[in-house]
């Protein structure tokens, strides 16, 4: 029997697929979907007798740090974190991200929380996955109004890390560092290259093997709903209640 899969579950599943080669995944602020994806990947790694460490910053339980809030950044700078997630009020075609606001800084029309740790994490974590649910011309723009962290840097800048993927509720892109351009890899159900193009302000390339997002199979959904949902409720109670009623 095919289960009825929620939009959030499909996105969690897409992200979990990107974490299979990792040893340590960290998840920062305001990230319930990446948090669930990391824990799902950890659970599935365990089944395959592999070890994946997950650090959820906003959790006391799923947290490997004892040296205070700076340890995440020190640990990342030491190269001990393989994947981290970042979002943005705006993301542009060169993978610049804006977490600060829209308008001309500092006189913003609309102020958002701020850059968090993005300005370091984007430079030092090898696989940064950009995650922004809303896929529209106001979120995926030609040029961000404020650069919280740049997508690419000059050659003389120390930068072992950077953007690798961008996931929205409509599509999955891969970032090509050399071309400084996104490549459309997968489409959500009911989306076409045309619908995605119309809803994306920046220009992107289309992969010749473009495909549809694959739904999580029943086993994965089972793990997600039975094992992961109660874990997520520890650190994102509102989200867990809304999606899984736990």
């Amino acid at each position: 029997m095919e289960l009825n899969i929620k939009r959030e579950e499909l996105l969690i599943s897409q992200l979990a697929d990107l974490l299979v080669n990792d040893k340590h995944v960290a998840v920062g602020a305001a990230s319930p979907i990446p948090g669930a994806a990391a824990l799902l990947a950890k659970e599935e790694a365990k089944i395959k007798n592999k070890r994946l460490r997950v650090t959820i910053l906003h959790s006391n339980k799923y947290n490997n740090f004892t040296d205070g809030a700076r340890e995440l950044f020190d640990c990342a700078a030491q190269g001990r974190i393989d994947t981290f997630f970042l979002g943005g009020v705006q993301i542009d075609g060169q993978a610049n991200i804006n977490l600060v606001g829209t308008g001309t800084y500092p006189k913003l029309n609309k102020r958002f929380p701020g850059s968090f740790g993005s300005a370091l994490m984007y430079f030092v974590v090898p696989q940064i996955i950009l995650f922004r649910e809303e896929h529209s011309p106001r979120t995926l723009v030609n040029r961000v109004d404020f650069i919280s962290a740049p997508g690419v840097s000059e050659d003389n800048i120390y930068r072992p890390g950077g953007p690798k993927y961008l996931l929205t509720n409509r599509a999955l892109f891969k970032f090509n560092k050399n071309d400084k351009k996104f490549l459309l890899l997968r489409l959500n159900h009911n989306e076409t290259v045309e619908t995605v193009t119309n809803l994306t302000e920046f220009k992107f390339d289309v992969d010749k093997n473009i495909s549809e997002m694959i739904n999580p199979d029943n086993e994965r959904i089972h793990i997600l709903r039975n094992n992961i949902a109660p874990m997520v409720s520890e650190f994102y109670p509102e989200f867990a209640k809304r999606i899984w009623d736990v």
């Binding site: 004892t66 040296d67 701020g114 968090f116 993005s118 919280s148």
Partner: protein, 273 residues
């Protein structure tokens, strides 16, 4: 003689002058909400907030109450409950100076003060608009040859010393040592502050230094200028290891604070309690 100064929350408030640079802990490390309420009651003005690295309801309440002229932070947010509306509106109406930063920079500036060195280098950040707008930061060529990158520019951040830092903790021992668990950023804030005051749930008749575990997870009394009892003193924020956040209350606040009138009404009720 007592081995520490036991104060009232109001006496701690009296130690915080208008215009001072006040250290603000993040929502996961002991937010002194009862103190904050008293600070607002007193009508403090022109506070400069230094958040390590962010603030939630504490900063938003102080801003909405007109107590803050300047804030340095990596984010001001109500987390799962959305934007910090009093903060966002103050920025949009140009009534608050925001020194936008990023988490590791906020840590590094205090770490410089911990070591009493004038600045601290940090990687990353270069090429961001955060760095472009921070005139108090500077970039120099890396004077060391260790990195293997030719002509590597490196960012220098000034040491920042706080005037006062206040936080809430689960307990102190009879000698005024404060239990902070794994929240070591509280120690960083304390080391970098001229004065440190702590509100606690309770004072227990123990000596944390008699045991390796409790010694390793405490802030020694030598950094603390005064302690006040404040039962449930972080409410509605969580107190790690003691109680969870009152999410209903934070949600109520987030809804009320969307408008100036809603916020004023909420605060009137809160301050009358």
């Amino acid at each position: 003689m007592n081995s520490f100064d036991q104060l009232s929350v109001k006496e701690i408030v009296d130690e915080v002058p208008d215009g001072c640079l006040l250290g603000i802990p993040a929502d996961y490390s002991g937010v002194p909400m009862q103190f904050t309420k008293e600070l607002i009651k007193k009508g403090i003005k022109n506070l400069r907030l230094y958040c390590l690295p962010l603030t939630t309801i504490q900063g938003d309440m102080l801003i909405g109450s007109g107590c803050v002229s300047e804030i340095e932070a990596a984010a001001v947010t109500l987390g799962e409950f959305g934007l910090a509306s009093r903060f966002s509106e103050a920025i949009e109406q140009n009534t608050l100076l925001m020194k936008d930063s990023t988490c590791p920079a906020l840590h590094a500036q205090l770490q410089a003060t911990e070591k009493s060195v004038p600045f601290m280098p940090l990687r990353g950040v270069i090429g961001s608009d955060i760095q472009k707008h921070r005139k108090d930061w500077c970039i120099i060529p890396n004077p060391m040859n260790s990195s293997g990158i030719k002509d590597e520019p490196i960012l220098l951040l000034p040491a920042v010393q706080l005037d006062v830092f206040v936080f809430h903790a689960a307990c102190s021992d009879r000698n005024g040592n404060i239990q902070i668990g794994r929240r070591r950023e509280l120690a960083t804030l304390a080391h970098a502050s001229k004065k440190v005051f702590v509100t606690v749930e309770k004072i227990i008749d123990e000596d944390f230094f008699e045991n390796e575990l409790s010694a390793a997870t405490c802030l020694p009394a030598l950094y603390v200028d005064g302690i006040a009892l404040a039962k449930n003193g972080a409410w509605p924020c969580a107190l790690p290891g003691a109680y969870k956040a009152d999410n209903n209350e934070i949600k109520n606040y987030s809804i009320a604070a969307k408008t100036k009138d809603g916020f004023n009404e909420y605060m009137k009720l809160l301050l009358s309690k």
